[in-house]
Symmetry: C2
Subunit: 666 residues, 2 copies
């Protein structure tokens, strides 16, 4: 299969290298403009010659038309690397075997966002095996998610949605540690936040956050989950009902706080620019968010025009006080507090939102385990800006909050921690992970490369990077995941759409060299992950009917039956147990609205039953002691064999019954 | 989290062991009735005492209320086993490491059906990593499948379907070997067969097979793929339009033959009973199908009442001749030939369908690599019935076709081959794989256990079993996959819905002992898989626009623009390239029908772009040189930022444009 050349703007065939060149020039023009925003900053300087060299090496190696992906494909080693790159490197060091033998359990749960797949993936670490998928913002017939009445209503919401784009999974905390109760995740595509119940590993609530088009960053308050915070990234008219479509100067973006129990949006804060990603401090006071496009432009050139942007630090108690004082406008039932730089609420000694200048377009904020510092990765600057969290409160000059700014490499996006004083930053452009010493970085001159201890090549172009339990006050170290956006030639080719590549890297407690242990193909496009030790979760292995009684009936074999509930409506109830349904048949009239309630009366683990109704696009998955319900119109006359989809016994194939739909005029 | 007891038929709490007992009694009653169908068969005898003993051991071990899953949970070793069971066994033997080091490639492609998930999964063997998912009978936002106009129309068909239940993936063959062109798979839920293009790894055709409700078995003609065959399993009125719903005696089931190129249904054959699973011979003449419920009953007790059922051997050239002779009825445009036992076409010396008696409810047919024998696993009989394919033609007495019937263990479901004279049969009830000698089985007395060489415990309750390239004339051996339906305690708990467990077993060339190498959790519920050596496929890494020109435009940057095509319709065209769309904004009126055409003009591998339109439930995934199109009604006024969902460059976050929907009355 041959590669085809790309087309230029005017439709002529073009050497792929030229496309690369064009994009590279665009990015270099932007990088060249990155300037230091504060007197204490010596300003990043970029060794673009080194970048160019590496790109040439790549082209020289003959991969320009194949594996080369433009600037994104560069493996520039501005600060050197102890590890060789390329597709042939492998695990040769002293890392423990990551293989988990048959029948043995992984040590950690990993929860992966699924990006535009809409799902959460549960992985075992260190084996990297996907143990389960949890549908969240996607329909998924396997689990009947979006097919039974309850999950369909929750998923579709008021927008008739069938998909979402989830990025940032966060776990519930008690006393600064994971309590195994809940996971929350954002939907960038539709401005939603969902909650996953970790007893049943099922999505149990989805909130369409009012007044925001997309939610990007998502974080849980620490040390106890009092709020779930969400960043409304894109600026839109408020409300977005057709007004001001041609007046971008009137667009707004909002920061939102949700109650984790009720999932209601309690308050929102209006800010300047586009909010990106956030983290919280360890004391329940600050939510700190990166932001870009202070220019409030609508095109990429304008968004990257100015030298600096502003990290926003939200003073949660001060915002609560403003709400209590009535200092808000209410839109769609939610109090919106003005947190823009021009707001009167930001003029005094206790601003509700602090604006911390950084090099332009910073990408992410991560708070290290001690809660002293927040790390702001530069993206277009090769630095990480270290914020002193205590200084947010004490200092009157926001610029003094900057405690350091190590130069870590090109395209720093995210930072994670091993709990032993080290930070690990993903370098998107360099395709590396940089390990650096936090204290050394605070003590060093700005833009010093001295704090960088070691780098390792990853394959290719990492986004998020996560070490085990790095977001808690006591990270476990040992394993690091680099979530790489491109895999290129790392796996057997599977057509034009490639998997991502999550790489498992051994880091020990930070005392050893980083070692690449495994490549793991990921279905596009996971964005982030979070880990919890296996002992911190206590999942149920069957349902407890007390958890749904009142909403749905527990249908025993004896209670199985059919009831006509109206002129054109029926309620059909059936149990399921190896290898029969409680009803062997039921008859309805064409046009009847049928509610089908199915209970799995099995009491033993893993003995799941399904109900598929052919040609009616219906599927239920019913775990032991669970009840599911679906309502549909029997609009096609005929015989429909509904059958069990979960292979349950030697007589599984025979586990089926008939729905007989009599013609209305018959 | 505590296990809750199941409820009995009358709503009283019940000891889970009693549920087990009840189901076991039901199955034992059935097993006890299994009788030999022919004089040459000594008749299977079941050591139910052994079964009982093992169940008691299980209960005694204290797992009755937890991991115990009824009869399905038994690990009965009627014939002994060289391998210990339980959750703690691990790889300790001489099998080669199945780990594939970072950057190295797997040796084989594995294509897994995804069951009720509707997808095909591409796995690397031996690493067991899922390299890619291919949506087939499911919507999948990651790839925009079911979201762009073309794939949505193909998926939904006339039934507005959003899901399906795929079981049996088969690969296209030329000269008896895989040619890497296509994969086909059935949809049990809606009677469809789909084709996946293995150049692009995308579903390119779905046929709703006329006159059948579900398609279960699916096979490709060998040695060259002249037909795709599908088993219509459930019997329904013909046509199923409301007639005869209460007259099961008038229900029919059909065997179908599709043209692999046009995907049209060329002819169908009406048969007795329920067709189950099939395979083809190696000479393009026979399609051989298992079948059950010769009683044509509608409840499980009736379906398993009689002693025997009949494997159906379809004589393809004879059926073609009957069609040519006009010996058919036409229903919904398809010629249906009468292949029932009473058919005149089956009365002469050259019946179009041969009915071969077997112990009742056989589950599967697999033809061994030499094409001499077809193996029919007994399911309710502990035997595999070996059919002599040459004798199908020669013998006048169908019973003489039976060449042997080794007794392999309880619940035999499927058989696979290493190419060195060995067969491997999955034992659902015993939770084992049995390796046996084919020639010895032909030479032995019926019901002899002598041909069985070795057994290995699997965890738990296997369905399909596949060795590498076992369906070709030259299997590679080395690796065996046991696709187990239950995983119970094998992985970290992930809630009431459990993964399946695909286990990797090393078999070498059949000369060594089987060795369990890895457990792999599988999202419910894969049914079967097929392997091809990596050198047999040649996937494209970008699209070739010549493959869609004429249907869709290749939109360059210069061609990007907006055209009003009617009073209330617009055509919007845009290119995409790092890090901008060809259009930075477009304006439509509320209520306009908008067709959005997007081309990814990148020429380099893995540089995918997406288009998400917030709140409009739209997502496109566009690989390099590909064009995708979606049509929707702009029914919500406001500003909608459409953005790139595939992380493509350091300016990916800024890659977005605006759709401005002006109020109709504004």
């Amino acid at each position: 299969m041959t590669e085809t050349p790309s087309d230029t703007a005017d439709g002529e065939a073009l050497d792929p290298e030229m496309v690369v060149e064009q994009h590279e020039q665009q990015l270099q023009d932007i990088l060249a403009e990155v300037d230091e925003p504060t007197p204490s900053d010596d300003g990043p300087t970029l060794d673009l010659a080194g970048l160019e060299l590496n790109r040439r090496d790549f082209v020289k190696a003959g991969v320009a038309t194949g594996a080369m992906t433009g600037l994104a494909g560069c493996s520039g080693n501005l600060l050197g690397s102890d590890h060789s790159g390329g597709a042939s490197n492998s695990s040769t060091g002293s890392a423990p075997d990551h293989k988990v033998s048959p029948g043995e359990h992984d040590e950690y749960y990993g929860f992966w966002s699924g990006g535009q797949s809409g799902e959460i993936r549960v992985m075992g670490i260190p084996s990297m095996r996907v143990l389960m998928r949890i549908p969240v913002f996607n329909t998924d017939a396997s689990r009947g998610y979006g097919y039974d009445d309850e999950t369909r209503e929750m998923l579709e919401g008021a927008g008739d949605y069938t998909w979402g784009d989830n990025h940032h999974p966060v776990l519930s905390e008690t006393d600064g540690d994971y309590d195994g109760e809940y996971l929350w995740v954002n939907d960038k595509a539709n401005g939603r936040i969902a909650r996953v119940n970790l007893t049943y590993f099922e999505t149990d609530a989805i909130t369409d956050v009012p007044n925001v088009q997309v939610v990007h960053g998502c974080a849980a308050q620490s040390p106890d989950t009092g709020y779930i915070f969400g960043n409304g990234e894109f600026r839109t008219p408020l409300p977005n009902d057709g007004r001001d479509v041609h007046s971008p100067e009137n667009y707004e973006s909002l920061f939102s706080a949700l109650n984790p129990e009720t999932m209601e949006t309690e308050w929102q804060v209006k800010v300047d620019g586009n909010l990106d990603i956030l983290d919280t401090d360890k004391d329940g006071r600050w939510a700190i968010s990166s932001a870009y496009n202070s220019e409030e432009a609508v095109e990429v050139s304008g968004m990257t025009h100015d030298d600096r942007d502003y990290v926003k630090a939200f003073d949660v108690p001060a915002i609560e006080q403003a709400v209590e004082n009535g200092d808000y406008q209410e839109v769609n039932g939610v109090p919106i507090v003005d947190g823009t730089q021009q707001s009167p609420l930001n003029r005094g000694d206790s601003p509700i939102v602090r604006y911390i200048p950084t090099p332009k377009s910073p990408h992410c904020v991560e708070v290290e385990p001690n809660g002293e510092y927040a790390m702001v990765a530069g993206k277009l600057s090769p630095t990480v800006t270290i914020l002193d969290i205590a200084a947010l409160d004490e200092s009157s000059d926001p610029a003094d909050v900057v405690a350091g700014r190590p130069k870590v490499g090109l395209g720093p996006l995210h930072t994670t921690f091993d709990g032993n004083g080290h930070a690990y930053t993903s370098l998107f452009i360099d395709s590396q992970a940089a390990k650096w010493d936090i204290q050394a970085a605070v003590e060093a001159e700005n833009n010093s490369t001295e704090p960088v201890i070691e780098k390792i090549d990853v394959h290719y172009n990492p986004g998020h990077i996560q070490a085990v339990e790095a977001m808690t006050t006591d990270p476990a170290g040992e394993w690091l995941i680099s979530l790489n956006k491109l895999s290129k030639d790392r796996f057997l080719p599977v057509g034009p759409i490639h998997p991502d590549n999550d790489q498992l890297i051994h880091i020990g407690q930070g005392e050893t060299e980083m070692e690449l242990v495994a490549d793991h193909p990921a279905y596009p496009e996971p964005h982030d992950c979070v880990f919890a030790h296996k002992n911190k979760l206590d999942p149920a292995t069957t349902w407890n009917k007390a958890d749904y009684e009142g909403d749905k009936e527990f249908v025993t074999q004896k209670k199985s039956g059919v009831e006509r509930t109206g002129e054109q409506s029926m309620h059909v109830k059936t149990s399921s147990m190896r290898s029969e349904y409680g009803l062997t048949e039921f008859t309805v009239k064409e046009g009847d609205e049928v509610t089908l309630t199915v209970t799995n009366i099995e009491g033993v683990r893993d003995m799941i039953h399904g109900v598929a109704i052919p040609e009616y696009d219906i599927h239920l998955a019913i775990a032991p002691q669970d009840t599911r319900e679906v309502t549909f119109t029997a609009d096609k006359p005929g015989v429909y064999w509904f059958y069990c989809t979960y292979f349950c016994s030697a007589l599984h194939l025979e586990m089926r019954s008939r729905m007989l739909v009599e013609p209305r005029d018959g």
